[in-house]
């Protein structure tokens, strides 16, 4: 390179057209997804809110009926069961899959032999769709040709395992299946978290005289707290959307014992032609999400402010 080159400006002076394009590109690239998010999230949410206050039946209509749909919704026993199930399922499913996932992750983190094999086995259920999981588990739960029949065939003739046949226990069958499906996913995230912890921290804690359980409790797990939150948030939205798992596993039964809000909304809107009440039920699902996510975002904001103050 000759010294002459150094005197030439790095780029020719940008034309206004070029300059404008440079500033436009990011906006152009982002615009479609921003518009889509805006329409799908806000416009449809508001539309659903409006429908929930209307007298829509088979088709959306816009006669304003106030909170009538909500009143009739909450007067329905099946909806009450569905809404209770949602909280029951979410609670057990999230806590259960996180606890089992964490346990598996900690066990695998002990540098076990054939780690990759274990990881694949535990992660495999996630690769199976909820429909398949639900169908297969419905066979397992089926007293006539499932686990109960198998164990009885081995000779324990009074063995009883028929969770899905009983309206009081059917919901637990759904919970167990859900946990089976997603604890491997939780494990994968937790394992990644455990592996990201600075090994020096563990060594320092060893020299400090902490026992293994103390090292996990006080040093490692607090360090990966953000992963707990991430797993919980992902699981919550799985739980609230629960539809196909239940559809395949119990079809909401026996009776209405495993009805979930998503199933109920689908029923009202597309089977029974009660779009107004269906919209009201959908709004209640949104409320359930908000109950969890609003305090969470407030907490994040609060924490950021608190850190700003101390730092």
């Amino acid at each position: 390179m000759s010294t002459h080159d150094l005197t030439v400006p790095v780029a020719a002076p940008a034309t206004p057209w070029r300059e404008r394009l440079d500033t436009m590109v990011p906006i152009l690239v982002l615009a479609p997804s921003l518009a889509a998010s805006f329409i799908y999230v806000f416009v449809f949410t508001l539309w659903t809110l409006y429908l929930s206050l209307s007298n829509s039946s088979l088709m959306p209509t816009y006669g304003f009926v106030g909170l009538d749909n909500y009143a009739s919704l909450w007067a329905n026993r099946r909806w009450n069961i569905a809404y209770t199930n949602l909280f029951l399922f979410s609670g057990f499913y999230i806590v259960g899959s996180m606890a089992i996932g964490l346990l598996l992750a900690i066990l695998i983190d002990q540098r076990v032999r054939g780690e990759a094999v274990w990881r694949t086995i535990f992660l495999y259920p996630l690769a199976v769709s909820f429909i398949v999981t639900g169908t297969v588990w419905s066979w397992l739960y089926n007293p006539v040709d499932g686990i109960q029949a198998f164990v009885r065939g081995l000779g324990w003739t009074d063995f009883s395992f028929a969770l899905t046949a009983n309206r009081n226990t059917a919901i637990y069958a759904v919970i167990i299946t859900g946990i089976w499906q997603s604890s491997g996913f939780a494990m994968a995230l937790f394992l990644a978290g455990l592996r990201s912890v600075d090994p020096d921290l563990v060594k320092a804690a060893q020299i400090d005289g902490a026992s293994v359980s103390r090292i996990y409790r006080r040093v490692i797990l607090p360090t990966i707290a953000p992963i707990f939150l991430a797993v919980a948030v992902i699981q919550i939205q799985f739980a609230i959307k629960t539809f196909d798992l239940v559809a395949a596993l119990t079809r909401g039964g026996p009776g209405v014992s495993t009805t979930f809000p998503a199933i109920y909304v689908y029923d009202l809107m597309f089977q029974r032609g009660q779009i107004g009440e269906g919209a009201a039920a959908a709004m209640m699902m949104l409320a359930a999400l908000a109950v969890v996510l609003v305090p969470y975002s407030l907490w994040i904001v609060w924490r950021r402010r608190a850190e700003g103050r101390n730092g």
């Binding site: 020096d200 060594k203 320092a204 060893q206 020299i207 005289g209 607090p222 360090t223 101390n310």
Partner: protein
Amino acid sequence: MSTLTIRNLHKSYGGLEILAGINLEAQTGEFVALVGPSGCGKSTLLAMIAGLETVTSGEIWIGDRLVNSVQPKDRDIAMVFQSYALYPTMTVRENITFGMESRGVPKAAQEEAVKRVAALLQIEQLLKRKPGQLSGGQRQRVAMGRALVRDPKLFLFDEPLSNLDAKLRVDMRTEIKKLHHRVGKTTVYVTHDQVEAMTLASRIAVMNQGSVQQFDTPKRIYDRPTNMFVAGFMGSPAMNFVPARLTGSTSISVRAADGSGATLTLAAPLPAGAPKDVVLGVRPEHIYRFTTDLKARKPAVESMQAPVELVEPTGAETLAVLRLGDLEITGRFEPDEAPVMGETITLGIDMSRACLFDPTTKALL
């Protein structure tokens, strides 16, 4: 009495030998530095002393106890890590008390100890903060606080200053030295920085490729390095190595820039059996501008001519690159008697400070 004794220590991973027969000891209150290039095994050695790595063979004694298979927590040691390894979710106070808490020290005693250490390291105002809110130097102090609060038999430092910027590193180095004087605990300090080793240690173990090359006081290591590795590693700019030929029992000849030989008289005769070809090792600060006055002050000074290729003034001293045969050597001059570029200077080489090495074994003659 020695606090740490290491006998014939070996470490290998599979077939790869990391440490090959280390022998070391640290007297009570002594500050021993392990120094060497990266990959020389110094950090592995420290981890083995701490009990974080298993011993392949050999013995590690702390006090009068063989600790080969003793858990880290029972070795009565404290360690400062290169990454500081502060628990990120705990406050500074909790970081310092975690060890005592794990060992079931009563709350009141913990409080007492935190107060003492915080005052010693001047970190009282940081106790409520989390490590993420501290600067590098503050983290360094907290890490030392966590080690000091234990009052162990042995302190281990694993390159504690290498994450700090240059100025802070010098400050903290001084601080560690002061702290060691005040606390007087036996310390093993790993570093790749030979200046840190020289300034801090009472004895230095220079390591290379899994073995201790020399274990001695900083002065002996600097003045009489046992081999060319130690000579080249310790000191900056490094010692100059010049091939030379023995021309008599007390004289050698080196090649000057014009190809002619310059004869230098040795300060002391070489031992019998020395090879004909030797390597002359001269530190940059033992090269002067030759004057009769200098010869009168330092009778062992020998003179020779050398062209000056490059001059690097640093303020306090001026480094000059000089041509000798087909190699370049560095001389360190007082700024007011420094050569200028292009000049051919008459060098005065202080032969009483020079070292001679065997070019095949690399050992000091």
